[in-house]
Each structure stands twice: as C-alpha cells, then as structure tokens.
C-alpha cells in the first residue's frame, strides 16, 4: 500500500511553481522524512496530500488511491500543520471534545492519559501553553483519531531540544506500537536522521531523492583519491565532487561490491552527507525508476 502517490503533481501560486513534476510513491509503514531547504515545496506537497490545496497539474492520491480531502482520506489521515494551529481560547479539554465531535473515532481515554503524562492540565487554554505543550496537544489530538497516516509539517520548528526529543519519542511510539505511517517535514535533516527510515529530499519545487534510507546508503559511496585523477571515476554516476588541495571526494552511485579505480579509497556515506551533496547539486536525482539528472554532468565545487 502507498500512503502517498503522486504523478506529475504540480502546484502553482500565481505565476510561481511551488511544486512541479512531482512523481512519488511512498509505501506504508515508514517514518518518512521530507527534507529540503525553505521554499523547496515541502508544505505545498503536504497540503496537497491532506486536501487543503488542489493540484494545478498532475494528480495525487493517498491511502491506496483515495483522493485527498475525500471522507475516507480525511478519516484516515491526521494532519498537524505548521505552527500547530489550535483554537487559542479553548482549553485542552475543549480541544479534545471538539476533535471528538469532528471525527468518527476518538480515543478520549488515551488522549487524556497522554496529556496527564505530559503535565498539561485539561483546563489550560491552548493560547496559554508553551510552544512545546501546544505541539504535544496537537499531536495528542492527531493520534487520538487513530489515523493510518500521520502528517506533520515542520512539527519541531518552535520546540526547544528537550521538547523535540519528547515529541519525536511520542511519534515513534505511535509508529512502532500502532503501525501508523508517519510523514514529517523539516528543513533540518539532523532532526530526522535518527528517526526516519525513508527519505524524500526536495529542492526548488522538485523531488530529488526518494527512497528507503538503507537502500540510499547502500547505493552510494564516497570515493577519495588524487584530485588530478577525478575524471577516472566518470564512468559511474557522480553526484557531487568536492576537491581539496590534492584530494578529491566524490559521491558516486555505487554499491560496496562495485570495483574501485586504483589509487582510490571507498567509504560508506552518512545520510546527512548524502542529503547535502544532493542539495548542492540540484540537477542530480536519485528516484525509484528512471530519473532525469542521474547522468548529469556534475559541476565542481572547490573549497
């Protein structure tokens, strides 16, 4: 089952494409990190997936081919928007009551228990809570709906490190215990590196990389060798070249079994390193199936 499936998806605001030619199939059962710099189109993609926006081009479906915003899609997806909008003049108890009234399922007992554990009084008004408490309340409301897919847009932007840790712990618990698929966006990969097992990397309105983290790491190597011989490695797809004085570091698409040119060393790559390399090279892409840009001529970035 795919929780989100897009083909040729595009969204234009005025004359600007916030998202274009996005084709994507995110399988269920993952914690998906949607990463990219500000303005990369992450929020646009999420808004399209939860039915808050309509596509300008292409199509998107959720939860096995359902149109976003349809009753079944709304029922199965819980969305926590950026800055966790809540009704500021309502208390936590009122927010629970309101969400219960607006949904077919609502696990009141677990929601109350969670707020109790978090030390958020039920009578506290949402507007009087700290950023962390508001985010936790929003997450509690979302989880109590027992969704199949939890979508979080920049959930940790306003949180301090401790609150981030608690927040992610709650998300991962839900993913592990209930099998909820999670799709969360951030412009900081480091936030998600340890929790995500599926990566979608976006920049400038396009999807650059999409795949399971383990597969991505297994299919990329860093090659280190003499700078003068960097062209020797040109027979395999090079994502990115970093040239120091005498040594060159190349990120290439290769597995551990691929042969290495003489005089070169191969190392496994870290997720953050991989993501940064792709973001620096917007022409490069690593997508399931044939993807444009794989053979693009890498430009040199010297340091």
């Amino acid at each position: 089952m795919n929780v989100v499936e897009a083909s040729g998806l595009g969204k234009r605001y005025g004359g600007t494409w916030a998202l274009r030619e996005c084709s994507l199939a995110i399988p269920a059962g993952h914690v998906v990190a949607l990463v990219g710099p500000n303005g990369a189109g992450k929020s646009t993609l999420l808004n399209l997936a939860v039915g808050l926006a309509a596509p300008s081009a292409g199509a998107v479906t959720v939860l096995d081919g359902r149109p976003p915003g349809s009753p079944d899609a709304l029922d199965g997806i819980a969305f926590v928007a950026q800055d966790t909008p809540l009704y500021k003049n309502l208390s936590a108890a009122d927010m629970l009551h309101l969400t219960r009234n607006l949904n077919r399922r609502f696990d009141q007992a677990s929601a109350e228990a969670r707020l109790g554990e978090l030390g958020i009084p039920l009578k506290q008004k949402a507007g009087k809570m700290s950023g962390g408490q508001q985010a936790q309340l929003a997450l509690t409301l979302a989880l109590a709906r027992r969704p199949r897919l939890l979508v979080l847009d920049e959930p940790m932007a306003m949180l301090d490190p401790l609150a981030r840790h608690d927040f992610m712990a709650a998300v991962l618990t839900a993913a592990a215990e209930d099998g909820v698929s999670v799709l969360l966006s951030s412009h900081v990969l480091a936030e998600l590196e340890r929790v995500a097992d599926y990566l979608v990397l976006m920049s400038r309105g396009r999807v650059q990389v999409a795949g399971e983290v383990d597969d991505l790491l297994a299919s990329h190597r860093i090659l280190t060798g003499p700078a003068a011989e960097a062209s020797k490695c040109a027979d395999r797809p090079v994502v990115y070249v970093r040239r120091a004085e005498v040594q060159a570091h190349l990120l290439v698409r290769a597995t551990a079994d691929d042969p290495i040119p003489p005089g070169w060393e191969a190392h496994p790559v870290g997720l953050e390193e991989l993501a940064l390399a792709y973001l620096r090279e917007p022409g490069a892409a690593a997508l399931p199936g044939p993807a444009r840009g794989r053979d693009a001529e890498p430009s040199e970035v010297t340091k």
Binding site: K11, N47, V50, G51, L52, A53, A54, G69, P71, D72, L74, D75, G76, I77, A78, F79, A81, D83, P85, L86, Y87, K88, L90, D94, H97, L98, T99, N101, L102, N103, R104, R105, D107, S110, A113, R114, E117, A138, L143, R145, R146, R148, A169, A170, T173, A174, E177, D178, G179
Partner: protein
Amino acid sequence: MTALAVPARPVQDASLRPVPWRRMAWVTWRQHRFALTGVATLLGVLAVCLWIVGLQLHHAYAAALACHRSGSIACEGLIGNFNGMNKVLSNGSVLQAVPALIGAFVGAPVLARELETGTFRFAWTQGFGRWRWTLAKLVALAVVVVAAAGALSVLISWYYQPYFAAGNETLSLSEVSPFAAGLFDLRGVALAAWTLAAFAIGALAGTLIRRVVPAIIVTLAVYAGLALAAGIFLRKHYLTPLVTSKLNLPETAWITSQWGTKGGKFAFAGRAPINLLEQFCPPSAVGPGKPSEATFARCLGHHGYTLWTSYQPASRFWPFQWIEGGWLLALSLLLIATTVLLVHRRGT
C-alpha cells in the same frame, strides 16, 4: 509512553457513514458562544428598553384615546404627550443597526478568523469534512440569529402598534405610514430577513477577505449600501403603484410620484409650479389664510388641470413584507451557497 495500542484497528471501508451533522452543534456553540452571547446581550438590552418605553407609549395612547371632551386643554396635553413619544428611538433608525451589527460581528468572523489564524488547517482536515463543516456552522448560526431577530421584531411591532392604528388621524394622533423609512424593515418578516442577509454578507466577505477586521468593515459598508438602495430605489417598485386623481389620500399611503395634466396632456411633474399658481390661484382666488395643497389642487381643477398621484396603499404592507423577505432570503441562500462552494473548492 502512553499505550496507544488497540486490539484491532477498525475496519476501513468506503461505505463508512459520515460524522453526524448534530455533532457540529456543540462545536459551533463552543466556538461562537462569545459572539452569540453578545447578540443575546444586545438584543436583551434593546428588548428591555423597548418594553419599558413601549408600556409608557401604550399607556399614553390609551389615555389619549380615552380622553373625553376632545379639544379640551387636558386632552390636547395627552395627545401631545403621545405624539411626542414618536421621537424616542429616532423613529426606529437606532434599531436599523441591529442586523448590520449581527452580520458584522457574528457572520464575518465565522470563516475570516479561521483563515486569519490558520486554524482552518486544523478544522478542515478533521473527519467531518470541510464543506459540511462550513454548511453546518453557517446554517446553525443563521437559524439562531434569525430567530433572535424575529423575536425582536415581534416586540418592535408591538411597540409601534399605536402609531399604525387606523383612525388616529381623525383624533389628531400621530399616524405613521407602514412604509415609513426606518420602520418598514423593523416589522413583519423584514428584520429577520435583513439579519439573515447581513449574516450571509459577513460570511462571504470573511471567506474572500480572510481577515476579521477588514471583513467586518466591508460587511457594514455593503450592508448599509444594500439597505439604502432597497429603501430608496427598490421598495417602491415591488408592486405597480395605484394612480388616483383624488385629493384626500390617507396619510398612511406611500406617495411615490405626482404630476399634473391638462386636457389629457402632461402639464407638470411633481407639485404645481409657482408660476401656474400665481397665474390661476392668487390669494384672492383661494381665499384668506394659508392655502393647503388640496385648496390649490381644487383651484387648478377649475382651470382644467388634473392632479395625479401614484401611491402604495397601506394595505400592501404584508405583500411588500413578503416580497422583501423573499428576495432577501434568496440572496442570503445564494451568498451562503457561494461561501460553502468557495470553501469546498479553495486551494489555500
């Protein structure tokens, strides 16, 4: 961490019934209780004022009616007392603000606040569904404000009743045309209909403008424009006016235009021009004292002129009420439907 595990996930299937409409009642009340309490307070205060002053008014009317030896100084005093109370509430123009305020402060924020604060992203991604959410809220609030306005207009009708009683004129008591500007739209079904229209204008303005304060201002402006246009241009054309050459129309008739003819040909519009009066009806011809319009008309009649008056008789009050209520209801439904459609279709 909390154990969120459940034994079995509920079966998802395409035929799941939607969340029941009635669940929105609590949501709507919880989110709009301050606005609704405000409306209740405003209308409550107005109702108490109308009740207190209205009782005095009815007493004054009863006293003036019961006064024997009409023409005596005592009776003149009682009549003057009753007639003078007409000025309370400035002939109803104070109450004209009621629909506008309800529209602006209840109607405009319904969607504007959600859009301004971003909470629509919460509300519209819940299982209830966004167009159902919009429709449920608007209908629930509309029913409440219309019912409140309807109740107030019953009280207002009672309050002004003495001024509309037939026969006041012969007793030299104030008698007001039921079409009087500022009173017509407070009685019958008009107040409720105007309140609904103001609410619908507010809801649509809020959806389009997406900010609370500008939406309130625009709602007030649009409502005022519509109310003025209806009163000045529209209302007198609801039914074809009656035309008469009679000179003693009751004071309650709504005169829409006057003109004169001579020998079947148009002679002048409006009142008889001064030069005509000077020519045919000098003071010597009409007798001493300040001549009335009827005197002039009679005088001109002797010279072959006929004065025509087109008017709406007071008996058309209810047809006019239903016509005004009807088009306002149609307009309101159109505006509410547009709002729901905009929300349904909107890409953020």
